[in-house]
Subunit: 161 residues, 2 copies
């Protein structure tokens, strides 16, 4: 009685494509965030960058992180991250400087305003989980499934060799 039995006769049917459900659900979730993030003046990818920086701020030691760490964490490349960071910088949330000792790496730090924004952002996960309407167990199941999926895809990369 699997869901896919409905019209599994056609492997190319749009509704049989998990990829489409993922793509579509992801855009729907981003859209659900949009009005809340707009109040903070952030886009969704910018919000993700801020999440990383807020974490990097909470850790002990010199607060901040490098562009490369950001790319790795969000699995985005510099073509995406560099201009995004420039926009965050001109919004006054982030400062970019080179690492003393290695002039190649860009060291990112939050401005006081960037740090303050965290408090306003705290309300967002609450609003969103209400909007998603999923229970904790469902959320955990979804999380588990998605991270497994991605782990397998990343692990499968070497196959290209």
């Amino acid at each position: 009685m699997a869901v896919s039995d409905m019209s599994s006769c056609n492997p190319l049917a749009l509704d049989n494509q998990v990829c489409f459900l993922l793509y579509s659900a992801s855009r729907a979730v981003t859209a659900a965030y949009r009005p809340y993030l707009a109040e903070l003046g952030l886009t969704y990818p910018q919000y993700l960058v801020m999440l990383v920086l807020w974490e990097a701020c909470a850790t002990e030691g010199e607060p901040g992180c490098t562009t490369g760490q950001l790319c790795q964490r969000l699995r985005l490349d510099t073509g995406t991250i560099t201009p995004l960071l420039k926009r965050l910088e001109s919004a006054g949330l982030v400062v970019r400087g080179r690492l003393p000792g290695d002039e190649r790496v860009v060291w990112l730090r939050l401005t006081p305003e960037g740090v303050r924004l965290r408090e306003r952002a705290c309300a967002i996960p609450v609003s969103l989980s209400a909007k998603l309407g999923l229970g904790l167990e469902e959320l955990d199941a979804l999380r588990a499934m998605l991270s497994m999926l991605e782990r397998r895809l990343l692990a499968g990369v070497p196959e290209q060799a």
Copy 2:
């Protein structure tokens, strides 16, 4: 023993965000499709459009569909779809014409070449499901979860009023 217990002390932790997992998994899946689609000369969104058109070709009656139906099906707007269709047209896969009887609507039809491409595309779901490495049950569970999520988000839209 929920997954989120790990560091649920911080609701803003990146790894606690289902939204990020979704976003990241979706991009990873798209990336997994990319080499296969490249052989057909298609991007991922173009592939989704072709899936709809191939379906619309299989139905009885006049084959094809309108731009509006495409937008509705893929939940994309004309700003995305119109230029994409022009690219498919200049690639020789699609012809765009106006509907006789209502000159506002654009009627889309596959060219013979567009129809033929379907056969080559048939191999893609097979390759991909191998690459994803998920069993049928897992796939169905994921599908169920994602479509529920999206259904709730779409249903929740009126709340904005």
